[in-house]
Amino acid sequence: MLGNLIQQTVNALTIGSIYALIALGYTMVYGVLRMINFAHGEMFMLGAYVAFLALSLLVGDVGMSGALALTVAFLVAIFLVGLIGVGIERVAYKPLRSSTRLAPMLSSLGVSLSLVTGVQILAGPQPVAFPSFFPVVRYQVMGGTITLMQIGILIAAFVLMFGLHVLVNRSRIGIIVRAVSESRPTAQLLGINVNGAISMVFFVGPLLGAAGGILYSSYYGIMSPSMGAVIGLKAFTAAILGGIGSIPGAMLGAFILAFIEVWGTALLPIVTNGVLGTEYRDVLAFAILILVLLVRPAGILGEAVSEESIVYKREF
C-alpha cells in the first residue's frame, strides 16, 4: 500500500510537471494579452515532432550519437518552437490586438486547426513511436517502482521552471514582461517596449510547451498530431484552476490537476463503491474546478477583480 502511494505520487508529480510546463504558456500569454491561446497545445505537439525530426537528422545524417544527439535535439526543438510561437503571434494575433477579445482567441483556433492538419499531412495522421530520452532504469522505493525517466522529467521540468522564475523575477526582460502584464497602457506610457515583451512571452511560452511535449512523448514513447488538443485542454484547465495570469498559480493548478487525475482514477471506484468508475475521472476534475471557482472566482492564486480595477468593461 505504501509502495502504491509512493508510486502514484511520483506518477502524479511527473504528469503534473508536464502539465505545468504547458500551463505556464497559457498563463503568460493571458497575462500580457488577456487572450486564451487555443493554439498553445499545438506548440506541445510541435515540440515532439520537431525534436523527432532533429533527432533523426542528427543521428541519421550527421552521425551524432546517443546522449549528445538527444540533448542537442531537445534544445534545438524547443528553441525552434519558441521562434514558431513568435512568428505565429506576429502573423495571426498581432493584427488583432486592438480588436475584440474574441477575435485573437478564434484566430488561435484557426492556427491550431491548421497546425494539426499540417502535421497530419506532412507526417501522417497515425501515432509514431518516440525514442526514450532516458535509459530504462527502475528503482524500487519501499515497494513502489520509480523510473529514471520520471526522475529525469521532474528534474528537467523543475530546471525549466526555475529558469522561468529567474527570468521573470530577476532579469530586466522579466520586469518588462511583468510591467506589461500589470497594465499594458501604463507600460506603453512609460516607454516600455510592449511588442518586445509580447514577443518574449510568445517565445518562452511555446518553448516551455515544446519541452513539455518532448518530455511527454518520451515518457509515453509516442507522439501524434492530435496529442496537443487533449493535453492543451488539461493544461488550460490547470491554468484556470490556479488562477490564470498567475505563474505560480499555473504550476500549482497543474500539480493539483495531476493529483486529482491520478488519485481520482484510483479512488473513485472505491469511494463510490463501484457506482462511478474511472470513466468519470474527467467529470471529477471538472467538478472540482467548478467548486474551486465558486469559492474563489478567480482561481486559487488569481487576483479577484473588483469593479474599480477592471481593465475591460466588456468581457469579450
Binding site: P185, S306, E307, E308, K313, R314
Partner: protein
C-alpha cells in the same frame, strides 16, 4: 427622512479605508465630499451604491437598510450613481443607454413585447420619448443614435449623469463628475447640476475641483484618512484650518489646496481621455 451613515467602516485586510463615519444627508441639497487622495471619498460612494461591501456599520435611506442589499437592489431602492472612470454602455447608442434603465420596471412584461408587436412599438415609443426629454435637458438630443463609446469625452460625462437620472432616483451619487472636463464643460456641468436640485433629491458630489464644489454645494464633508474631518457650509470649510492642514500638511492657504486639486484633476483628465 434622509440618507444616514452609521459608524461606517471599510477594511481591506490591514488597511482601514473608512473608519467609523457617521453622518446624514438631507434631501433638497447638494452635498460635496472632498478630501486629499486616499481619504476614502470614492469608497464612501462605492459603498453607498453597493459596489463595495460594508465591513461594519450601516447605511439607511428613509429608514430602510441598504448595506445588506445587492447592488441592483440598492439601485432599485432609489440610488443612482456615476463613475470616476466613465462606465457607459459603449456599443449602445446614447438613447439606448437611457432606455435600458426602464428594465427593472418593465422586464416583467418583456414577453408581451416579444409576442405582440403593437405593444412593443408603443412601449418603445414611450421609452424613447421619456429618454429624449432627458437627453434634451443635457443638450444631447443630437447624439441620440450615436454609439455612446463614440461620443466626445465631455458628452460622455453628461450622458452618464443623464443615465443616472432616468429612474428618477432619490439619491444621486456623482463620483468626480468634472474630472477631465475643460472650463467650458465644467461651467455647463455646474449649471445642469444646479438645475437638478430638487426638494426630494439628495445629491452627493465627490469632486476635486474646489471652484465647482464651493459654488455648487450647500454642505461639504471633508474626509481625511478614512475619517470624517469636518462638516459645514462652503465658507466654513474654507475657513477651517483643519481642512487646510489635512490637504497640505502645513499650508494655510486655500489657493494651495486649489492648486493641489487642480493637479490631481489634470492627471485624471489625461487618464480619462486616453481611456476613451
Amino acid at each position: 427622512m434622509t440618507l444616514v451613515f452609521q459608524s461606517l467602516r471599510k477594511v481591506y485586510g490591514e488597511v482601514v479605508a473608512i473608519d467609523g463615519v457617521s453622518t446624514d444627508f438631507a434631501p433638497g441639497m447638494i452635498h460635496g465630499v472632498i478630501g486629499p487622495n486616499g481619504a476614502g471619498k470614492s469608497t464612501l460612494i462605492n459603498m453607498t451604491a453597493g459596489s463595495y461591501t460594508v465591513s461594519s456599520g450601516s447605511i439607511t435611506l428613509d429608514g430602510k437598510r441598504l448595506d445588506k442589499l445587492k447592488k441592483y437592489q440598492i439601485a432599485n431602492s432609489g440610488i443612482a450613481r456615476t463613475y470616476q472612470n466613465i462606465r457607459l454602455f459603449d456599443q449602445m447608442s446614447a438613447i439606448e443607454n437611457l432606455e435600458v434603465c426602464f428594465y427593472p420596471a418593465e422586464v416583467a412584461a418583456a414577453w408581451r413585447e416579444v409576442i405582440w408587436p403593437p405593444y412593443a412599438n408603443a412601449q418603445r415609443r414611450r421609452r424613447r420619448e421619456k429618454c429624449m426629454e432627458i437627453l434634451r435637458f443635457f443638450d444631447l438630443q443630437g447624439y441620440a443614435d450615436v454609439d455612446a463609446g463614440g461620443l466626445p469625452y465631455g458628452r460622455q460625462r453628461m450622458l452618464e449623469i443623464a443615465r443616472a437620472l432616468v429612474a428618477n432616483p432619490r439619491v444621486l451619487l456623482l463620483d468626480e463628475p468634472a474630472a477631465g472636463l475643460n472650463h467650458h464643460e465644467t461651467a455647463e456641468l455646474t449649471a445642469k447640476l444646479t438645475a437638478l436640485r430638487s426638494p426630494d433629491r439628495i445629491m452627493i458630489v465627490v469632486e476635486h475641483d474646489m471652484d465647482l464644489v464651493m459654488t455648487l454645494c450647500d454642505s461639504i464633508i471633508v474626509m481625511h484618512h478614512g475619517k470624517l474631518l469636518f462638516r459645514g457650509t462652503p465658507s466654513e470649510v474654507q475657513a477651517s484650518t483643519d481642512v487646510q492642514l489635512a490637504y497640505l500638511g502645513t499650508a494655510n492657504d486655500i489657493d494651495d489646496i486649489r492648486a493641489a486639486a487642480q493637479d490631481r484633476r489634470a492627471q485624471l483628465g489625461i487618464r480619462a481621455r486616453r481611456r476613451s
